[in-house]
């Protein structure tokens, strides 16, 4: 049975919650940042324990294994250098052709990528975000694309001094203009699919006649102005006509492993 002190406590806590929820955006960001200060010792502890675990792991790897890995990396490096040489030639050709046609050149990515590390993951099941160790001191601002070598990951949604929140593909707040690499290069909008599984998103609003088959690649279309054109997103799993044939919807398996993110690249402006 609830007594008077219980009601008083309920009213006080409700008032606190309502006040906090109705604070203006700027104040919330500052208070949130200040509150994160409570976690600083835990950040230090986590980083130290990770370093120690890494050092212990390094000691356990045998020398023979390291030499074998080194040789493999040298071979990979030589192959990539050959590919890069070819790519430079193709880029020159591309630039010449663009000049002939009068097309504007795309800004190169070289020198614009900033490496960051994932430091925290979303504790709630109904959002898909991570926090990275780059912030406004590194020149980050909202809506910058975030990627890995496998493909697009998401975009920067909030920035503090030394940290930033990245909203991942499949989150309701991260929608991407994408196209399917089929004969007609059909455009659609990539949005959330559901709480599980975490590596699938839905590509909606494809034209009714779109021929979308499993295995076809999906890349960013460049529409919308946030994500540059041509960043890999994933592969089509299956497709179906929805809303009585109004448009086609395809499930896309994301190229980047969002559950195992450790290092990411932020594409700076």
């Amino acid at each position: 049975m609830l007594k008077r002190p219980h009601y008083v406590a309920l009213i006080i806590v409700t008032l606190i919650a309502l006040v906090v929820l109705n604070l203006p955006g700027g104040a919330v960001a500052r208070l949130r940042f200040a509150f994160n200060g409570f976690f600083l010792p835990l950040f230090g502890f986590a980083a130290t324990s990770q370093n120690l675990a890494g050092q212990a792991g390094d000691l356990l790897v045998p020398r023979r294994e390291l030499i074998r890995e080194n040789q493999q990396l040298r071979r990979d490096n030589q192959q990539l250098q050959l590919v890069a040489t070819q790519a430079v030639e193709i880029a020159r050709e591309n630039a010449r052709l663009r000049q002939f046609l009068g097309w504007r050149e795309q800004a190169p990515w070289k020198g614009r990528l900033k490496l960051g590390q994932v430091i925290l993951r979303e504790p709630a099941n109904w959002w898909r975000t991570v926090q990275i160790d780059l912030g406004s001191r590194d020149g980050l601002r909202t809506n910058l694309p975030v990627l890995t070598v496998e493909g697009l990951v998401g975009r920067v949604s909030a920035v503090s001094f030394d940290r930033a929140q990245v909203v991942l593909l499949g989150d309701p707040n991260c929608r991407v203009a994408a196209l399917v690499e089929n004969a007609t290069r059909d455009n659609g909008v990539l949005g959330p699919s559901g709480p599980v599984p975490g590596d699938v998103a839905v590509l909606s609003y494809l034209p009714p006649g779109a021929v979308v088959k499993p295995g076809q690649k999906v890349v960013t279309s460049g529409l919308g102005g946030i994500f540059p054109k041509g960043i890999p997103i994933g592969q089509v799993l299956d497709s179906q006509s929805v809303e009585f044939g109004l448009y086609v919807e395809a499930r896309v398996k994301l190229a980047a492993n969002l559950n195992g993110l450790e290092e990411i690249w932020v594409l700076m402006p």
Partner: protein, 183 residues
């Protein structure tokens, strides 16, 4: 007034909230991140004062939301409602029994996320909700319930270690000393 239980539970809330965000846990395997703040609320509601329950709801809720994409403060009320309910009826519960703690943890770890989701939807946000949410709530409730008794034991042990031991009165009374033998 002993503030050690309050400080201890707030510290545990801080560590639990951080650990949930730092360690991916089950998410990589089965797509679910377990929330242990409701389990901690069960321990607090069964063993501490109402003020501590309220502080845990405010501090734990704000801490959880600070690390999440949730609107800041949305987790306070669901935590407190569950804590208050348990606190008000804790006289009727065999609170030292591990099975009772498991059942309460099971219910709390299922109800708190559900209430938070309802609040989010009512406030006009669009969280990821679908059939998979039922699976997520079930896993959260089961794992949270299983971890509630160990958390409560840990909290009790922490209180014992940090508080002064209760002075126990000896049953010996000199005025009732029976002296035997002849003098």
């Amino acid at each position: 007034m002993n503030v050690i239980p309050t400080l201890l539970i707030l510290l545990m809330a801080l560590v639990v909230a951080f650990a949930q965000a730092w360690w991916g846990g089950l998410r990589g395997w089965i797509g679910v991140q377990v929330d242990l703040l409701p389990a901690l609320m069960v321990c607090a509601a069964l063993q501490t004062r109402l003020a501590t329950v309220a502080l845990l709801a405010v501090f734990g809720g704000l801490g959880f939301d600070a690390l999440s994409a949730n609107p800041w403060g949305i987790s306070i009320l669901p935590l407190f409602v569950v804590g208050l309910g348990l606190y008000a009826w804790r006289g009727l519960i065999l609170r030292r029994q591990a099975f009772a703690q498991f059942l309460l943890g099971l219910a709390a770890c299922g109800v708190v996320p559900l209430l938070t989701l309802l609040l989010l939807l009512t406030a006009g946000y669009a969280p990821l909700v679908g059939w998979g949410t039922i699976w997520q709530l079930a896993v959260m409730a089961l794992v949270g319930g299983s971890l509630t008794p160990p958390l409560c034991r840990f909290f009790e042990a922490g209180q014992l270690a940090l508080s002064y031991r209760r002075h126990t009165q000896s049953s010996f009374r000199p005025d009732r000393d029976i002296r035997r033998g002849r003098r």
